[in-house]
């Protein structure tokens, strides 16, 4: 099976400029990252603000190209100018700010924006629009103005707009950072449904640990490096290290860790409250 995404010795630097625009130095946002994502996986990239996670995400759909090293998406080199639009069609991206990625004045027109750009024939566009809106549960809102939707609903429309382009991989760059808890739940549920139905590769960028519980693999970034890598359980069990990297685990994990430190025999890497309740009851 061909790898969905692969980066090799990826380095990304951007120039620091003074007031006149003269280059006065460079800042290395991504430092020697080697990432492998298989098709169909659910990958989470965690990190604090400034860790480089969003910068890394933007390499996957060639919004940024490496300063050094290579990024392959679906077998294509992202720095190859001829493959640019193919890369972008195969790796769709949903951004953090719900308003700033919706272009249409009517929901269904926004979802059709991507297919229009790809030159899809008119009738097929409508088919894709309906399919995508149904997949995210927003078909009944098709004639609505985006202005009247909640944050969670807007993000679902944005997701529909991306899957209407039939990508192999969806990158979600902090999709819930600007949402309230119910909006967050809405979006994550939609992503989970999509994974099961459409079988796309999902790469979720976030700083909320509770969102990565169901991921196949988690990468933690700090200062441009990947500092931790493993299954959610493996990552969650390292509570102190995560705190060092400015991340926070769900209360249940902290509680489990605290009880463990006080001598109770609790397994490491507790992710859900059911697991903790069970573990404590076993000690009765």
């Amino acid at each position: 099976m061909e790898r969905m995404v692969q980066t090799e010795d990826l380095i990304f630097e951007y120039a620091k400029r003074d007031e006149e625009g003269n280059v006065i130095g460079s800042y290395r946002a991504i430092d020697q990252v080697n990432l492998k994502v298989e098709a169909g996986q659910f990958i989470a990239i965690l990190g604090h603000n400034g860790s480089g996670k969003s910068t890394l995400a933007k390499h996957i759909n060639a919004i940024l190209v490496p300063t050094e090293g290579t990024v392959w998406v679906g077998g294509r080199d992202t720095s190859d100018a001829d493959e640019l639009w193919n890369v972008r069609q195969s790796a769709g991206m949903v951004f953090q700010n719900p308003d700033n990625q919706i272009i249409g004045t009517v929901v269904e027109e926004d979802v059709g924006f991507g297919p229009e750009n790809l030159g899809v024939p008119t009738d097929d566009i409508w088919e894709r629009v309906e399919e995508s809106l149904r997949a995210v549960g927003m078909l009944s809102y098709r004639h609505h103005s985006p202005n009247k939707l909640s944050g969670g609903q807007k993000q679902r429309v944005a997701i529909a707009g991306v899957i209407a382009m039939r990508p192999k991989c969806i990158v979600l760059d902090e999709p819930t950072a600007m949402l309230d808890p119910s909006g967050r739940k809405e979006v994550l549920r939609t992503v989970e449904e999509l994974r099961k139905q459409e079988k796309v590769t999902v790469i979720l960028i976030t700083h909320y640990m509770e969102e990565v519980i169901d991921a196949d693999r988690v990468f933690v970034m700090d200062h441009g490096h990947v500092v931790m890598e493993g299954t959610p359980r493996e990552i969650f069990s390292q509570v102190d290290a995560l705190k060092e990297y400015r991340l926070d685990v769900p209360q249940v994990t902290i509680l489990a860790d605290e009880l463990k430190k006080r001598g109770l025999d609790i397994p490491a890497g507790i992710l859900r409250k059911e697991e903790l309740v069970e573990a404590i009851c076993r000690l009765k």
Binding site: H48, N49, P181, S182, H207, Q251, K284
Partner: protein, 283 residues
């Protein structure tokens, strides 16, 4: 510096086709020096409510008393009210505009009519309180990082030396460490400078850690108004309106259902751990 709200009502777009009652018969009292958390889902009216506290929005009917004076009485000085009740909006960094950070923080004191020296003095004081280093004072506010911009914006309100500080979701968009830092700073300010703090948030877990009292808003009305422990005891009702008690509350209740005599009113990790250790130690 207490605030008393009596039978407050507010209606959006009154008289048009889009009319909506945003606040219904709100009765609240916030004594001086308290740390109050206001929680509610989007549309519950919490942001509308706090904009009444400094007179930005005028109630349709009802009264608001600041320090015993009715702010809707004839010649009440609204400008003075805004000096006393500082309001930090969501994403406050969007209000930054000046050439450098220090000037922007001086904007508030300048509007209060203070001398240049006094303005700068208060600005520096405020910037120190939010933990922004001096080397940034002469930088353009647009050169700072997201977290730094937010601190500068909060300093802009603190520089006015308000007696009541109202913050609308001050941790929105920040990463976990950033969130902890801002909340710790606010808690520190509350203890050190005897300010009343009103914190609007989505996160029960954040509020539980710092607030003396929690006001839960639902559909424009006050649903609960009491201490964190008492509010979380109603966790099932909270869930019914789309809010959640802190995770530990659920854990403790489930443990109790399974036969462990834990303290179901534990609201923080420490309290929960203490209680569990105690119960298991006695077995």
């Amino acid at each position: 510096m207490s605030i008393k709200i009596e039978h407050l009502n507010y209606i959006y777009s009154q008289g048009t086709a889009y009319e909506k009652q945003a606040l219904k018969d709100i009765c609240l009292e916030i004594p001086h020096g308290e740390f109050v958390g206001i929680i509610g889902h989007t549309g519950s009216g919490k942001s509308t409510l706090i904009q009444h506290l400094n007179g930005l929005i005028k109630a349709a009917d009802g009264e608001i008393y600041y320090n015993g004076e009715n702010i809707y009485s004839g010649n009440y000085n609204m400008k003075e009210l805004r000096n006393q009740v500082g309001l930090v909006f969501q994403y406050p960094e969007h209000q930054l505009f000046e050439v450098d950070v220090l000037s922007d923080v001086c904007f508030g004191p300048k509007n209060q009519g203070l001398s240049r020296e006094e303005c700068e003095k208060r600005a520096r004081e405020a910037l120190r309180l939010v933990g922004l280093k001096e080397k940034y004072y002469q930088s353009s506010p647009f050169e700072l990082s997201g977290g730094q911009k937010r601190r500068a914006a909060i300093a802009g309100v603190l520089a006015m030396r308000p007696k009541v500080l109202v913050l609308d979701e001050p941790t929105a968009g920040l990463d976990p460490k950033g969130r902890d830092e801002i909340l710790d700073q606010i808690s520190y300010l509350h203890k050190e400078s005897d300010m009343t703090v009103i914190l609007v948030s989505h996160s029960m877990e954040d509020i539980a850690k710092y607030a003396d009292r929690i006001i839960v808003m639902n559909q424009g009305q006050v649903m609960f108004n009491s201490t964190p422990k008492e509010v979380f005891a109603h966790y099932k009702e909270l869930e019914a309106v789309g809010l959640a008690a802190p995770q530990v509350t659920y854990i403790m209740h489930e443990l109790e259902e399974k036969g462990l005599a834990v303290d179901t009113r534990a609201a923080t990790v420490k309290e929960a751990a203490d209680s569990i250790m105690e119960v298991l130690g006695n077995d």
